[in-house]
């Protein structure tokens, strides 16, 4: 899976640590998400999408 989390996170001026805290996961999980190494649950995908103020999950996550 490809993600655009890093792009939109930086656009909002958030660090990985801050994003992790807001969606209640470890910083390492955000790193793994940004690198496309971890496929999140639907719940986490929605939480990240909402936190990064995007409307659709597809804005952040792309199935390869």
């Amino acid at each position: 899976m490809r993600t655009h989390i890093e792009f939109f996170r930086k656009k909002l001026g958030l660090t990985q640590e801050e994003l992790a805290r807001r969606v209640n996961v470890a910083r390492q999980t955000i790193i793994s998400l940004e690198q496309g190494k971890y496929n999140p649950s639907l719940y986490l995908a929605f939480a990240v999408t909402k936190t990064l103020k995007k409307r659709y999950i597809e804005d952040l996550f792309e199935l390869e």
């Binding site: 209640n24 996961v25 470890a26 390492q28 999980t29 793994s32 971890y38 999140p40 649950s41 986490l44």
Partner: protein
């Protein structure tokens, strides 16, 4: 309870339990362990020393179990933990099965049946826990 889960992280590479992540965690470990050495050095009579040490150790063992149970893990960490625990369990089961087979072979050669009951109990207990867990998960989801 005495300690906080935020002071510790799950032990991943050196067995089971938790390892201190903050200075408060290290102080907790020191406070838990140091008095045991102190009790050992005190000139106390008879059974007083082991009772004191036992009570002190029991308090911290119970507290530490509570810390481990309350430790936060996100979904990725839980997934990794589940996979690692599953792999460790398979290895343990294989070793136990080899142990049982070896003891059975040895006892048939010696003509004296002897299989360590603890090994059998461990395997049976594991089977029961797995069954109960699957029953619970199937009913929940």
């Amino acid at each position: 309870m005495l300690g906080k889960p935020e002071w510790f992280g799950p032990r991943k590479y050196t067995g089971w339990g938790a390892t201190p992540r903050t200075w408060q965690g290290w102080v907790y470990v020191l406070v838990a362990v140091a008095p045991l050495a102190l009790f050992g050095a005190l000139p106390l009579s008879g059974s007083t020393k082991p009772i004191l040490m036992g009570i002190w150790a029991a308090i911290f063992i119970v507290d530490f179990i509570d810390i481990i149970l309350r430790m936060q893990r996100d979904e990725r960490e839980r997934l990794h933990e589940a996979i690692a625990e599953r792999n460790a369990l398979w290895v343990i089961i294989v070793v136990l099965a080899v142990g049982i087979a070896y003891q059975a072979a040895q006892s048939s050669v010696l003509g004296k049946p002897r299989i360590d009951p603890i090994i059998l109990i461990a395997v049976i207990a594991g089977v029961i826990v797995k069954a109960v867990t699957n029953i619970y998960l199937d009913s929940r989801d």
